[in-house]
């Protein structure tokens, strides 16, 4: 196994579809097992991200955490700034903000249009940063307007902002204005491409690449038994395949017809059929999955692509608790 000399930070993602006490149990465990970052997803149909993060802040001591990711359409930027500023009072220096354009399906549910996503994210980040600096924000953007928004308290510290990005322009923007970028990708082919885009933005802003924490936000599943690890990854991969644009599927040589069949099966709630259509190539492309050794090898490949943070996302493993232990015992110490 080829060694890569690099310092990688480990992050973990939780979805607050689970009750708060399970998430906090895992958060405490993850902190103990050496994870550096904890990301909680933000969707209106799950439990609230900031309430979950506030509880996490109280039960943990050193792990850095934040929404991964929120969006400026459903949550006004001043409310986002207010939430992270308050969190930063509970856990000073441990808060980060992940922000992206959101997902269209969720926004469609509540009748919110994803208007000018690049501009919206850019403007939102500017508003959050200015609010955090204590400024009275007067802002007339293409998407958002502020007419003297100011906190009645003094926000403390600086919150690093991570941009959730997938498309080339959003990745470039992340490189340009972000303190970090959360790339939804698992395979070196996708991450190589993403990092090149981030580099463009970094160079445009006359920054160094090391100024930006490049995180691969992966669908991850680990178990000592490869079959068990793979089985746990299949449902998540089926959804990723169904949601991926043709250009991404083609990059991995995935049959577009088969992807369409998965999409139809999921739409019809025919889970067995959808999961049965997931091929080993799809699992390889859209997850980091296997025994600890296999996962280490995959992480090493992503390090070569230039990532500085590896985020372990759903499903994490057939048993989340055992997977966190396994990652803490066998994967993190390797780096």
């Amino acid at each position: 196994m080829e060694e890569v000399i690099n310092v990688v930070k480990f992050g973990i993602e939780f979805v607050p579809r689970e009750p708060y006490w399970k998430i906090i149990y895992y958060a405490i465990q993850a902190e103990r097992r050496g994870f550096d970052y904890l990301w909680i997803t933000d969707h209106f149909n799950n439990r609230n991200v900031y309430v979950t993060l506030a509880a996490t802040a109280i039960y943990t001591n050193k792990i850095t955490f934040g929404p991964g990711v929120t969006n400026p359409y459903l949550v006004n930027s001043v409310v986002t700034a207010q939430a992270v500023a308050t969190l930063n009072e509970i856990a000073p220096g441990r808060v980060v903000l992940g922000i992206g354009a959101g997902d269209k399906t969720t926004l469609d549910c509540v009748g919110v249009e994803m208007q000018k996503p690049l501009t919206a994210v850019q403007e939102s980040i500017e508003i959050v940063r200015r609010m955090m600096s204590g400024e009275s924000v007067v802002f007339k953007g293409d998407v958002f307007t502020m007419a003297g928004a100011k906190f009645l308290f003094k926000p403390r510290g600086k919150i690093p902002v991570y941009v959730g990005a997938q498309g080339p322009k959003m990745l470039e923007l992340a490189g340009k204005i972000g303190d970090g970028v959360l790339i939804n990708a698992c395979h070196p082919k996708d991450v190589d491409y993403a990092v090149e885009c981030v580099k463009k933005g970094v160079s445009e802003a006359c920054k160094k690449l090391t100024d930006v924490d490049i995180a691969a936000y992966t669908s991850f599943s680990v178990h000592e038994d490869l079959k068990k690890a793979t089985k746990a990854a299949v449902p998540v991969v089926s959804y990723i395949v169904a949601g991926s644009p043709s250009i991404v599927l083609e990059r991995h040589g995935i049959d577009l017809k088969k992807a369409e069949e998965i999409r139809e099966a999921l739409k019809a709630s025919e889970w067995g059929r959808a999961f049965g259509l997931v091929s080993p190539e799809m699992i390889e492309a859209f997850s980091v999955c296997g025994t600890p050794d296999v996962c280490i090898e995959r992480i090493n490949q992503l390090l070569k692509s230039g990532i500085s943070q590896f985020v372990v996302g759903s499903p994490i493993g057939p048993s989340v608790r055992k997977a966190i232990d396994l990652i803490g015992e066998k994967i993190i110490p390797h780096f």
């Binding site: 689970e18 009750p19 006490w21 149990y25 405490i28 039960y59 048993s319 608790r321």
Partner: protein, 101 residues
């Protein structure tokens, strides 16, 4: 927390507590009966976990209470078949029946 579970814990041999705590937390975390977990019990559970005390007397009592609430049959099965704790199962059943009255 239901203090009667402290009595149940007294029937658990000290050398088995770590392993039992490990099994019970798995039952609780993988249970689909989340809605049965009272917030006060969940908070007590987290209090003990934060301090690494889930195998202590009070930690194990909390875990037992949570496991019995969420997964009564599986809890009895674990205690009886994996750990051969006949007296613990008897004590759990007594607490359970008392609570049902």
């Amino acid at each position: 927390m239901d203090m009667t579970y402290h009595k149940v814990v007294e029937t658990v041999p000290v050398e088995k507590r770590e392993a039992i705590s490990d099994k019970l937390i798995d039952l609780v975390l993988t249970s689909k009966n989340d809605e049965k977990m009272p917030a006060s019990l969940a908070n007590t559970l987290l209090y003990h976990w934060q301090r690494n005390l889930l195998a202590s007397d009070s930690g194990l009592a909390t875990l037992l209470e949570a496991a019995v609430l969420l997964e009564p049959d599986k809890t009895v099965e674990v205690l009886e078949q994996e750990f051969q704790l006949v007296s613990t199962v008897k004590a759990v059943r007594e607490v359970f029946m008392k609570a049902e009255k």
